[in-house]
């Protein structure tokens, strides 16, 4: 039953995203950057989804350390992995945009660098998990690392901001150049992206459950 709901939600999210490609293609060009500006409809929702994922990973990690409940551990892995995929999408779309507008694929600018460092930190989290066999130890160490990584994110962002900034400032708030009638489309895309992320996390959580079942079956097989 829940499986069906998940699939329906996932398909709904994908449908909104596909439909949005069609609608944003028909929007007029942005005055200064032309068509390529529209990458923002994917670029920013992906970044926001990844940031939410990082925050949830922190909460789940603290939750695991406090309760030692493996559900929190499963949530932390699921959220980190999905967040990493979205952050990768954010980095790649940003890089392609940069090639057109700045003329270079990559600039060592504040946000790009901090996003890359975040990506490396959370990739390290997954590597660390792979290197530890024992489930309790794996969950504990991963949770500790996740807390360290999350604390690092704001420090990285601020320090690199002092270093240099080239990334365009946010275009949504007062004085920004984001066309007001585009906001509706943007919010739809944001919603769809977050929904897609949530569905992926739910699927990944079920996989963690199966993994635990598999582990217990293995133990039984050993005992026999």
């Amino acid at each position: 039953m829940t499986n069906k709901i998940l699939y329906v939600l996932g398909i709904a999210a994908l449908a909104i995203l596909v439909w949005n490609i069609y609608t944003i293609a028909r929007l007029p060009e942005e005055t200064r950057q032309g068509e390529v500006f529209k990458i923002i409809f994917f670029h920013v929702p992906m970044a926001i989804t990844a940031m939410i994922a990082a925050a949830v990973a922190l909460i789940a990690s603290v939750g695991f350390l406090l309760t030692k409940n493996f559900k929190f551990d499963a949530l932390a892995v699921a959220v980190t992995e999905v967040g990493l995929a979205f952050l990768a999408g954010n980095l790649v779309t940003g890089s392609i945009w940069g090639r057109e507008i700045w003329g270079i694929w990559w600039a060592w600018d504040a946000r790009l660098t901090s996003a890359l460092v975040c990506w490396l930190l959370y990739a390290g989290y997954l590597m660390l998990r792979r290197a530890i066999e024992e489930p309790t130890q794996r969950a504990t160490f991963a949770a500790v690392f996740s807390i360290f990584a999350f604390i690092d994110v704001p420090i990285v962002i601020f320090s690199i901001k002092w270093w240099r900034t080239q990334h365009p400032q946010p275009v949504f708030w007062a004085g920004g150049s984001f066309p007001p009638d585009w906001t509706k489309h943007f919010l739809w895309n944001m919603l769809a992206m977050a929904l897609l992320g949530a569905v992926m996390i739910a699927v990944r959580l079920r996989q963690e459950e199966s993994q635990r079942e598999l582990d217990s079956l293995r133990r039984m097989a050993h005992a026999l």
Partner: protein
């Protein structure tokens, strides 16, 4: 800007300028489509990875179950 200045400005625009602008706009479309494709590819690859893991888990669980049944 006064309307009388417009012909002067237009006279300054050369054919090359127009060409360059056209190429820039074409590029723009190309890069937008590349960007969208890349975003989609990443999502699809991740989903495929998840499906692969799902299949592996299912296979291993069912084979272990079968083995346990046999031993019983």
């Amino acid at each position: 800007m006064q309307l009388t200045q417009l012909p002067m400005l237009l006279a300054q625009v050369t054919v090359e300028d127009l060409e360059r602008e056209k190429i820039f706009l074409q590029h723009n479309y190309e890069y937008l489509s590349w960007g969208l494709t890349a975003a989609w590819i990443i999502l699809v690859v991740y989903v495929l990875m998840m499906i692969g893991r799902q299949n592996r888990l299912k296979r291993e669980i069912s084979s272990l179950r079968a083995m346990l049944e046999e031993k019983k």
